[in-house]
Subunit: 332 residues, 2 copies
């Protein structure tokens, strides 16, 4: 029974959010029963993660339209799966809906998720929709898969490893800044904020290496590097001059760009470490697959600290948030 | 980084919610990385479902304490897995936290979940905690397992089947009524509302039968029977005099008790259908395992309608909600 004020025609709503076409053979029961049932592939482990976005905390009506809210909520999860070296397969959605979101807007949220899901061969298998007098809340849970024993943990960094980052960092925070404060627009940076691209392909390439420590960049380079350093009980030294920055972000000045890269977050790129002797091969594989990867630092013996090397000085980096309206969050 | 206002000591918070003891061998990566990694058992399918509870929609501070909020949010999901004939194994938690919930109360929510989880051999493997200016939102995702091809769908009812219900129904709604409106208390009924018992064992017993159509009773007997009837394209006739009612609920009068049973919901018992020739065996197995099961009606040819037989008259039942502050919700 639907008592959600926004949903006037339940049948039409469910029809619109149900995945089109035939179910994949590994989905034995899809959307529409008490629970979904899936069949694992042989020699394959299951990855599971969940991530929540709250209106006026992670986005506002001004910074993101409903399609983008859905797209990004799913992207954050696909990114977590990629950071384990895995491939997303299924997702479940919990939508907590205030009365001022229309049925059409809810369908747009699902459409944003579905379009990204299709790019990653990922299928909606269940969910829950409830009403609220508070803000909109979108919680997405993604199940993914990875060949047995191939998962990439953040605790596997070893002194002597090189540190690398995929793509460019800071762009999402710059895009948000433009949406909130600038008169001039910049489609590239705004897109990086509203429609981020989780790095599934990069994660898969990395999973073929013997040992990689890996994190996705949801909270900024500083915070993610610290998580790797702490989990691996090593120190990490990042070279400020090597951080991969887009030309669009550099238009705001190098100091500002570095701040966004370190503390902005939501880039959903990957940061990781690899043994020095594997670096050439890693770079070769990434070039072949046309994915940007940049060496940014190295791993030293230590106790979980991260230092930024700027010219010949070292500054210790701390976990800190930056975003304007973001109160922040925590992933377990 | 924790910016959640309620959480003052992140390290202590995470320590308190992390499952105690050694990880089970099927959990390769538990709480604390980008995502969890689990190893499926052989010849076993994976069940997945998600369910959300919102403050002032599904509960209030008056009707449920934090421990009970956690317990019940997980119970709703374990119940969905049981309704597929499966056993819950892992859960992920998204907590959306307003500033007026304290760190101790958040830990109580997790404690309520953990106590129920331990009863069902189910382990926390991940989650997300974010802040909000709105009400508390708890979203739980449960992964369960079931022997390959043994899942029990709601679409498998066939004319000639008998309809059964486990336990008693209506107790949760009666408990809520007492909490909201009565001066005298009733521990049994209030417990049924605050600390419901998902019927994992009953679901497992049912999964050993060749064909059972099954639903859990989250929205009331009427609504759940209609879901089975619609999914199976049959009609169901329920006998009003056979509905299993506790003696505590009957103290409110039979008519009121029946209303609670049909429309109250949140009993998390199971309703299902089974071929007539299997009924004696089913009853025997349930008696042996000391689980109450009651035959309540039968399945006829039809088009998805449910009728209540009272004395010699038939009334068609409609999906409708009942709860006092519950705006309602929808499961996909």
């Amino acid at each position: 029974v639907v008592f959600i004020m926004s949903i006037h025609d339940e049948f039409e709503f469910i029809k619109q959010i149900t995945p089109k076409g035939r179910l994949k053979p590994d989905i034995l029961v899809g959307i529409g029963d008490d629970a979904a049932v899936i069949r694992p592939f042989e020699q394959t482990d299951i990855i599971a993660c969940t991530d929540t976005m709250v209106e006026d905390v992670h986005f506002t009506r001004k910074t993101m339209n409903p399609y983008q809210v859905g797209y990004k909520a799913l992207a954050a999860n696909i990114s977590d799966v990629a950071a384990m070296g895995g491939k997303s397969s299924y997702y479940l959605v919990s939508l907590v809906v205030p009365s001022n979101w229309s049925q059409q807007e809810l369908i747009e949220i699902y459409k944003g998720m579905e379009d990204l899901a299709n790019q990653h061969d990922t299928v909606l298998i269940g969910g829950d929709t409830v009403s609220t007098k508070g803000p909109l809340v979108v919680t997405v849970t993604v199940l993914g898969r990875i060949k047995s024993n191939k998962n990439l943990k953040r605790s596997d960094a070893v002194p002597g490893d090189l540190v690398f980052i995929t793509g460019t960092v800071g762009d999402s925070a710059a895009g948000l800044h433009i949406l909130l404060y600038e008169k001039d627009s910049n489609t590239y940076l705004i897109n990086r904020h509203q429609l981020p691209s989780p790095q599934t392909e990069a994660g898969l390439l990395l999973s073929s290496f013997d040992r990689v420590a890996l994190n996705d960049i949801s909270d900024g380079v500083a915070s993610e590097a610290i998580e790797i350093a702490e989990a691996s009980n090593v120190d990490i030294e990042l070279n400020e001059s090597m951080l991969p920055l887009s030309k669009d972000i550099l238009a705001f000045g190098r100091d500002q760009a570095i701040k966004w890269a370190l503390y902005g977050g939501e880039d959903y790129q990957l940061i990781g470490t690899v043994p020095t002797e594997n670096w050439d091969e890693l770079e070769r594989v990434f070039i072949k697959n046309r994915i940007r990867v940049t060496r940014v630092g190295e791993v030293h013996k230590g106790t979980g600290k991260v230092y930024l090397k700027k010219e010949e000085s070292l500054f210790e980096l701390k976990k800190q948030g930056y975003n304007h309206f973001k109160n922040g969050d925590r992933n377990e």
